[in-house]
């Protein structure tokens, strides 16, 4: 009998093994609770913020990542920045004008102070651009830039090598740094402006920007404390006096911290917890369509059936991307019919999602493969939200038009090698453009593959249409934004008609906070919340 009990206990422990992780999560959430209790909630307005990770350094040029740019918007100010509607609004530059094809002149605010007390002038912009061009991570983005020239103390010219339509978008990445503060050598005799990824550098542990917050205390991976900069130039901003940033990498713990009131603001919110947050009376949830598009690429070179335009069309018509968004993504995504979401230069409003099973079956019947065919597919299983389930659902959808898909899913560590090797006929990829621009999608995902120029680097379907390439290349040097937008819209139309890829959806972005904050006003699709503008009632 004892043995029976033992076996029963063993069997149950098998079931419980999975639950172990959850218990651990619950324990982890206790830590921030204790930390939070110490923070006095009396007079100064404190924002207790929880993110998945904290900034890796205080030097904004060490890493090009969402997290570092979010940090940059707190401690530094860009020349110009994105508004919620996708337009570009003044920050340190109050106006700008095109002087010639290659030059844009920026007029800078006067009387702006750095955290060190130094005055902000044009020479800081010149110095910052030179440093950007030295940064491993940023130099690629700033490759089209020739130099910055200080015309006088408050006027600066940005000169590009060729006419460059995205100059203004790139100016959102120029966060002027205090050139005096970062010049010279520190007490160890090392140059203060050195960009060092992992080791010590002066810039990694000191900051002097013009931004709304200064860093008061930082313990990496544990806590970063920000305080409002007393001499901040913009009077018209939020009222947060202090920000305590705690990194909570575990999704469940982060949400638990918000629900229990240990933190005031969390980002991102995992899809499975959206309902819990939304149904809570003390919390508000802000969801925005993001710009990361999830697509499937069809390789007509590997599998001749996929080169047949009718088959490609049929596949696009057979995939019920609305159904995927509703059931698998639980509504936490926006159905896509093209690469760029609304608000982007290339967005075409009349391209609609195409799910129509009857039409798909009819197209298959008209194609050269009326009886269907077999093909292969690979997808990652830990890269995008619910990636594996999406791929599985697509297999079922394609089986309804007679296409038998063999699916293999794998973790992202293995996936990208297989993806680059083009081992399957259908391959999944998601893309978020660094430049927040339509052309970026096509440049990487759908231009003809060219190892030399790097165009079509992630075009695993080997789709190639010379017209598309010509339009994209022309758009790069087109400075008239209206014309440029037309070109990019033309590209989207061609891609749509060619069924160049299977569009699935754009993943959403999410932020959750306590009520009584203007959370919805400070967030944007770039996922750079402007905490300087946050108002707590």
């Amino acid at each position: 009998m004892k043995r029976l009990l033992l076996v029963l206990a063993l069997a149950f422990s098998l079931l419980m093994a999975g639950c172990g992780g959850e218990e651990k999560k619950a324990e982890e959430t206790k830590a921030p609770e204790q930390a939070a209790e110490k923070a006095p909630e009396a007079q100064p307005k404190t924002l207790r913020l929880a993110m998945a990770a904290d900034p890796v350094s205080l030097d904004p040029l060490v890493q090009l990542s969402g997290g570092m740019l979010q940090y940059s918007h707190m401690v530094f100010d860009p020349l110009v920045r994105w508004a919620q509607d996708g337009s570009i609004v003044p920050r340190l530059a109050y106006k700008w004008e095109q002087i010639d094809d290659n030059t844009m002149r920026f007029f800078l605010l006067e009387g702006v102070k750095f955290h060190s007390g130094n005055e902000f002038t044009a020479k800081d912009v010149v110095w910052t651009l030179a440093r950007l061009k030295k940064s491993q991570d940023f130099k690629g983005l700033f490759e089209p830039f020739e130099k910055a020239v200080a015309v006088d103390d408050y006027t600066v010219d940005l000169v590009t090598k060729e006419p460059y339509g995205l100059l203004l978008s790139m100016a959102t990445y120029i966060f002027p740094m205090d050139s005096e503060f970062y010049s010279g050598t520190d007490e160890k005799g090392l140059p203060k402006d050195a960009i060092v990824k992992t080791d010590y550098s002066f810039a990694n542990i000191n900051e002097s920007g013009t931004g709304p917050f200064t860093v008061v205390h930082r313990e990496q991976g544990v806590k970063t404390e920000f305080a409002r900069f007393a001499d901040y130039w913009d009077e018209n901003t939020g009222n947060v006096d202090e920000i305590v940033l705690t990194p909570i990498p575990n999704d469940a713990s982060r949400v638990a911290a918000l629900l229990s009131g240990d933190v005031d603001f969390v980002m991102p919110v995992p899809p499975q917890d959206l309902e819990r947050v939304e149904s809570n009376d003390n919390l508000q949830l802000v969801i925005m369509g993001g710009s990361r598009v999830i697509t499937l690429q069809m390789n007509g070179e590997r599998n001749p059936a996929l080169a047949d335009p009718k088959v490609r069309q049929a596949i696009v018509y057979a995939v019920n991307n609305q159904g995927i968004v509703d059931t698998i993504m639980k509504g936490f995504a926006t159905v896509a019919s093209q690469q760029a979401p609304e608000g982007f230069a290339g967005y075409v409003a009349d391209l609609k999602p195409r799910f129509d099973l009857e039409k798909a079956q009819q197209l298959m019947a008209e194609s050269s493969y009326p009886d269907g065919f077999a093909c292969t597919m690979i997808a990652p299983n830990n890269r995008y939200v619910k990636d594996e389930k999406i791929a599985e659902a697509v297999v079922s959808m394609l089986s309804k038009i007679g296409i038998k898909v063999t699916l293999k899913t794998m973790p992202k560590a293995q996936y990208w090698d297989e993806f680059d090797a083009q081992v399957a006929d259908l391959q999944m990829i998601g893309w978020h453009p660094d430049t927040e621009d339509s052309a970026n999608y096509t440049e990487f995902l759908l231009m003809c593959r060219n190892a030399e120029t790097g165009y079509g680097q992630y075009n695993s379907g080997s789709y190639c249409n010379p017209d598309v390439d010509a339009l994209i290349l022309a758009s790069q040097t087109e400075t008239d934004l209206a014309k440029r937008s037309e070109m990019l819209q033309e590209v989207e139309r061609i891609l749509y008609d060619d069924a160049a890829f299977v569009p699935l959806h754009w993943e959403n972005l999410s932020w959750a906070s306590k009520k009584g904050m203007n959370t919805a006003d400070v967030v944007n699709v770039q996922n750079f919340p402007y905490f300087g503008d946050l108002v707590i009632e």
């Binding site: 029963l8 159904g323 059931t327 077999a374 292969t376 690979i378 594996e388 079922s396 081992v423």
Partner: protein
């Protein structure tokens, strides 16, 4: 002297059957195991739909509750999973895969392990050292490393297209190959203890061949630990398969096994769809439990010291 009894009659009158029939626990376990085996291996006959054919289910039916619940549909007696597959059918098919892999892998492990263990224990000396070091080396590689290695070879040879077809034999090979040292070491230890005994001496004196002594005389006396390991290993193999499926080396996601069903369903347990993980979980626990109980009974029966007379 009576005429030779038929095998059937000998079996019917044996103590083996008598003991079995009078042990209620063993009998119940056996009946449950047979039911599960029949249902699992005969899945295509018992399941209302074929969940491995992607055209039979629809995403729009995803996460339907079991029929006995408020919004349940009679069409899906145990509800549906996150892809809209009927849970009942999926469990039967999944159990079939798990059973084939579990038993297949254990048979392979046992075969390699017993042969190596017997040879190693009986001959001893350098051969023994060599084989046991080999086992040590094998043990130092985790199952996953072996799996990655073997499946890389398979994939290079067959490509992604054949993946669905080779998945089951591949898993049997991987799990079977990764864990044979468990058997080899146990069998070797028992052989070392047995080979000094008088009956082995006697057999040798009569002039029996080494092979006969090893397989007909020593082996039956080393089997009881082998049975115990086997019951654990079947459960282990089913679990390994679920883990390998997650890393993309096991069954394709479109052909879920019992293990991967539980694994996937776990994500949904907090969002209210508990049936995706609970039902396959119960089946797996029951399956592992009855195999363990039967193994226990068999070991007790085979152990002469516990002979109940």
């Amino acid at each position: 002297m009576q005429p030779t009894r038929s095998r059937w009659r000998r079996f019917r009158e044996s103590f083996f059957l008598h003991d079995f029939l009078h042990d209620r626990l063993a009998l119940t376990s056996f009946i449950v195991l047979v039911i599960l085996l029949v249902l699992g291996l005969g899945a295509p006959f018992f399941a209302p739909s074929n969940p491995y054919d992607p055209s039979t289910y629809d995403l729009l039916n995803a996460e339907q509750p079991p029929a006995f619940m408020e919004n349940g549909q009679a069409q899906f007696p145990l509800g549906t999973d996150a892809q809209g597959r009927d849970m009942y059918s999926t469990m039967l098919y999944g159990m079939r895969v798990s059973l084939i892999i579990g038993f297949g892998a254990v048979l392979m492990q046992a075969f390699i392990g017993i042969v190596v263990g017997l040879i190693s224990g009986y001959f001893g000396g350098r051969l023994d050292s060599a084989l046991m070091r080999l086992a040590d080396v094998q043990l130092s590689f985790s199952t996953y490393m072996v799996a990655i290695f073997i499946s890389a070879i398979f994939q290079a040879a067959f490509g992604v297209a054949m993946y669905e077809k080779i998945a089951i034999p591949l898993l049997i090979l991987v799990i079977g190959f990764a864990e044979w040292p468990q058997y080899a070491r146990t069998v070797r230890a028992s052989v070392l203890a047995e080979k000094k005994k008088e009956y082995v001496e006697a057999a040798r004196v009569i002039g029996l061949s080494k092979r006969r002594i090893m397989f007909r005389h020593i082996l039956p006396n080393t089997l009881s630990p082998v049975f115990v390991i086997s019951t654990i290993q079947v459960a282990n193999a089913i679990m390994s398969e679920a883990a390998l499926s997650f890393v993309g080396l096991g069954m394709p996601v479109t052909m879920p096994s019992l293990g991967s069903l539980i694994n996937v369903g776990f994500e949904y347990i907090f969002s209210g769809s508990w049936w995706i993980t609970l039902f396959p979980g119960i089946v797996l626990v029951v399956l592992v439990l009855v195999i363990n109980l039967l193994g226990d009974w068999l070991r007790d029966y085979l152990n002469p010291k516990l002979y109940k007379g």
